[in-house]
């Protein structure tokens, strides 16, 4: 028993260490070199130097947004894998990324600005959430939503929306750059305001997801067995998908569609700590946040003066790492 508590303590310490060092690394590097002493002076002693604006108003919110978005995507990815009992599912599986993209494309093409510079984000959010609800209700028959139908409906809706996007892009070639850039996912226009808005949805969302760890564990036995153990499966799906769509909506409206993280982060946790969702969700969130901070930091400095979009970075980093973990796991024979 004591051994177990000790192990858990070590695990959490390692995770927090990873998170904090990623944070420090991401704050410390950038296009403008700011010495360590100056960073500490600015943050902790409020000293007003030339680099204060760069650090406090550009870099810090950007790093913190990366942490929040990464945590949100990873937690949602893990939960979705649990709901669908499918390891290939990620945070965007139910066509949510296409929905987000369509919302964003719509606002970019029409150029409407009812929400100021946040318009694209708001439309992406609406696109995400409404796509999920569309898919959910399309799959509903007789008060029951089959997860297979849900997956298929998600794929179908996703293709449908993508073709609409392609059509719109074809008709609006002069805005192509802007659209492509958005869909790649980027954190380059991060502000404190964006951080506050996105974290006010994502943080409570992720905390709420943690409450359902036990039920998600039971869902691993299959929906029918979960029902026999007293889990209200339909209600659980409804609640979890609802929370997930809000988180994903907040993520894409802030940073565009950042891929691969929602798939990889939960699997890293699974490979090291197993599938218990009571740990998987918080651990995934910490790892997801760390990875996204690192990915964004590297993307900022690798090809200066230009930037690699963070979505591209996550895929480049996550892919090989994931394959490495898979192979390592295989050679253990497990």
């Amino acid at each position: 028993m004591a051994n177990k508590v000790f192990k858990r303590f070590i695990s959490i310490s390692i995770l927090l260490l990873l998170f904090i060092s990623s944070f420090i690394f991401a704050v410390a590097i950038g296009a403008v070199k700011i010495p360590w002493e100056e960073i500490i002076e600015i943050i902790f002693f409020g000293v007003n130097t030339d680099n204060r604006v760069i650090l406090m108003d550009i870099r810090l919110p950007r790093v913190m947004i990366a942490a929040i978005l990464g945590a949100g995507l990873a937690a949602v990815g893990g939960v979705m894998q649990g709901i669908f009992m499918n390891p290939l599912v990620d945070s965007y599986t139910l066509g949510m990324s296409s929905g987000a993209a369509l919302g964003a494309v719509f606002s970019i093409v029409t150029g409407i600005g009812i929400f100021g510079y946040a318009t694209t984000g708001v439309f992406a959010f609406i696109g995400t959430v409404s796509t999920l609800f569309l898919v959910y209700f399309l799959s509903k028959t007789k008060n029951r939503v089959s997860i297979n139908t849900l997956l298929l409906a998600g794929v179908a809706v996703s293709y449908f929306l993508s073709s609409i996007i392609s059509f719109v892009m074809m008709m609006n070639k002069h805005k192509l750059d802007q659209i492509v850039f958005w869909t790649m996912g980027s954190l380059s226009s991060s502000t404190w305001q964006k951080f506050i808005i996105s974290s006010s949805i994502i943080i409570p969302g992720v905390l709420l997801l943690n409450i359902f760890g036990r039920e998600l564990n039971i869902m691993s036995l299959g929906e029918e067995s979960a029902h026999y153990i007293g889990v209200d499966v339909e209600r659980l799906k409804y609640i979890l998908l609802g929370i997930c769509s809000l988180i994903v909506g907040a993520v894409v409206s802030t940073g565009g569609t950042i891929g691969f993280l929602g798939l990889v982060a939960p699997h890293i946790v699974r490979l090291i700590w197993g599938s218990d969702y009571r740990r998987l969700i918080p651990y995934s969130a910490i790892i997801g946040g760390s990875i996204l901070m690192l990915a964004d930091a590297l993307g900022r400095v690798l090809i200066q003066p230009s930037e690699i979009p963070v979505g591209v970075m996550t895929s480049i980093m996550g892919g090989p790492f994931f394959v490495f973990l898979l192979r390592k796991q295989k050679s253990k024979g497990a």
Binding site: R214, N217, I218, S220, L221, E224, I229, G230, D276
Partner: protein, 421 residues
Amino acid sequence: MNYEVKVENLCFFYGEVNILKDINLNFQAGSFVSIIGPNGSGKSTFLKNLSRYLEPQKGIVMLGDKDINKLSKKEISKKVSVVPQNILLEFDFKVKDIVMMGRHPYVNRWKGETEEDKKIVEKAMKYTNILQFSDRFYNELSGGEKQRVILAQALAQQPKVLLLDEPISHLDLQYQVEILDLVKRLTLKEGMTAISVLHDLNMASGYSDIIIMLKEGRVYCQGKPEEVLTVENIAYVFNINVSVSKNPVTGKTYVYPISVISKKKRKLKIHIICGGGTGVKLIQELATLGFHLSTGVLNIGDSDWAISKEYELDVAEEVPFMSITNEAYKRNLELAMISDVVILLPIYLSKSNIMNVKLLTDCKLKDKKIYIVEDDNLEKRDFTNGEAIEIYKELLNKPNVVPVKKDELKEILIKADENHG
């Protein structure tokens, strides 16, 4: 009567299709009830209605004195647990974690598992004998071990009713017995009510207090195994010919399916002189090969007599424990005369059945082909003070009598049939 589960006028439809038709059943507390019936007869659907995974369009299910419709999912899962056929996990968990999942209806979301929960889980694992691998991962276990884990999980729910949906279908015989033994013990010692869908009629017979036979969504009959598992019921419900007897060890009803693969009909008529079980295997083999058979003289109740009746052969029969009377002898001779070949199997010989061998020396059979199946224990089989041995010697000197080895017989007969044409 103390009924744990009561089902009244239950009807269930999948869309327009009526799966369960007006089912009325009562399940007594502490009983082991099997539900049998062909595929598509509604067995699993019925179980799912009992656990309220499916909601019937009509009718009521009562758990104890409570209407299942008025209970919440958690309350139901405290009273009823379900063991399905087999569970595969996409994401693996440790055995003890899986068993602990069974405590879900009792565990408070905010407080987590208590010491009591842990004790109950441990007891369940002890009961199903899985404590020794409580730290192993579920997917690494064998089928039988997995099923014991799922059973332990079901027990952790502390149910009054255990529903089992083909719990042994994927298991080796050894594990089938192990699982059903466990369930039986639960009904006997803990007073749990077990309701199980089973495919194996003999397993159902061996373990059940009551068997319910479903056909096309209706209860065709119910009762004790020996009342339900009759040749007629099984022929009607399963559309298959069986023979029913008693298991010689347990005395339980035992069902043997009779193969329906009837090969081409052969023309060769064979009369077999057997008795005391010497003919069972040969009769089955030759009947399956399509030969036209008769047997005699057999005492009624003899196992050779029983198998002959099963295959509806012509039998020269005699009252049990009686010496062969003249009448039976004549009937036997008649049957031997109209057949093309007569076979004498190595039977035990006494004063009461010596006439069976003597028959073959009858001059009316002097042109009949007679095969005597050899064995080296003639002296041991003889209880006639040598009389039988004398007859054997006499027979073997006759030109129409051929001694054959047991394993050659089938081939010889098949050849004889081909030349018979």
